[in-house]
Subunit: 227 residues, 2 copies
Amino acid sequence: LIQFENISKVYQMGLELVHALRDITLSIRKNEYVSIMGPSGSGKSTLMNIIGCLDTPSTGKYFFKQYDVSDMSDNELADIRNKEIGFVFQTFNLLPRATALKNVELPLVYSGVNSSKRKEIAQQLLEGVGLGDRITHKPNELSGGQRQRVAVARALANNPSIILADEPTGNLDSKTGKEIMILFNKLWEKGNTIILVTHEEEIAHYSHRIIRLRDGLVESDEKNGNP
Amino acid sequence: LIQFENISKVYQMGLELVHALRDITLSIRKNEYVSIMGPSGSGKSTLMNIIGCLDTPSTGKYFFKQYDVSDMSDNELADIRNKEIGFVFQTFNLLPRATALKNVELPLVYSGVNSSKRKEIAQQLLEGVGLGDRITHKPNELSGGQRQRVAVARALANNPSIILADEPTGNLDSKTGKEIMILFNKLWEKGNTIILVTHEEEIAHYSHRIIRLRDGLVESDEKNGNP
Ligand SMILES: Nc1ncnc2c1ncn2[C@@H]1O[C@H](COP(=O)(O)OP(=O)(O)OP(=O)(O)O)[C@@H](O)[C@H]1O
Ligand SMILES: Nc1ncnc2c1ncn2[C@@H]1O[C@H](COP(=O)(O)OP(=O)(O)OP(=O)(O)O)[C@@H](O)[C@H]1O
Ligand SMILES: [Mg+2]
Ligand SMILES: [Mg+2]
């Protein structure tokens, strides 16, 4: 499903080069449940952004369902991002002037779902993350963990087959965090592919494979014996 | 040092009332090391914002060093916020167009420190959180955990005697998170007062007292036997 061959990502800062990813080769199959761990700054979000077609590598090849992503048009990439992939961002990226409901509706607007159906789907998703009584709140009228949960609900709006979640429980107490992980488990059981970035071992243990990054490289890539 | 008497905070949303804090009475003495825990949405950040003089309660009294905060002028409050309290925000609140260095310098600009001294202090603080090689990066050129650490460094710029940190390790791997906690420990040993919000029990166990909120009320307030 997802294949990286010698992927690197380098930023130029004046005279200095920052190697966010150095040389990543890995593949992820359909319906896998993978966690990505590693120190702060090791390249996890950069990796997720490339997988999610939000960023392009500096060198190397990315094959999505066996198609070379670098050959795809902007429209094809936009379609993948909107319909196939649900992305929970590490910093949420909610529209500040829209309500929780409108924020979750946004991917459904892009995929052409009619207004009353959109509201119904968005309402259900927000109830599913415990925010049924917060749908009219804007992001600055929500707690940090509530914003995080709106970001999770929005990622699921188009029923994507691949869920990319960058630290989805970082702002949640353990009980609320578990509720989100139970939700992801159910999505995985339905055949979806889940890729999580987390720095909490307890959260990584819901997954079946743990990839650890260090300094832009894969340090280890192992099955998780007891999910 | 900090005394709350029957503090409440209520938001009006159309016809609905949201009780972020319902009735909080507590006191925190100088050089205490307190953690505040509780479910997502239970009122932790709201409590911190009132302590930090960034928000006012709807009812109740807040005494800061025995002065009634509601009687203070805007200038007096600004002085407290700038010189006495260092605040690490749950969502960092960095200036997006300024470098890490300039972001950390900002409180020193307000307190009138000269330019070369500011740079030196800001540089040292960033090295102290492991970001010596990232001082010229802007927030969007930093990882989530790096932005969080810039927010920590900025909170310490004016050498405040009270540190309020709202989930300071939420985006950090455990090793980097421990480095921040060691830093806070050192600050506490120097006589400062530390108030942390966290949802991780391991982090709360660095403190000496754990206050747990639920639904805008104090559910429990206990000494931590083994910090
Ligand atoms: N401006 C506002 N208008 C309306 N409701 C608000 C506003 N700000 C916060 N709230 C509500 O007040 C409650 C408490 O929010 P607060 O941010 O203090 O929670 P928290 O304990 O910090 O949660 P988290 O762990 O998720 O960060 C939440 O239910 C939130 O929806
Ligand atoms: N636009 C950019 N310009 C320069 N350097 C960048 C840029 N974006 C990221 N970096 C650097 O690339 C490295 C990897 O960043 P990335 O966000 O992938 O880390 P991460 O593993 O997600 O970290 P965290 O756990 O803190 O979120 C970091 O050292 C960061 O400073
Ligand atoms: Mg990241
Ligand atoms: Mg909060």
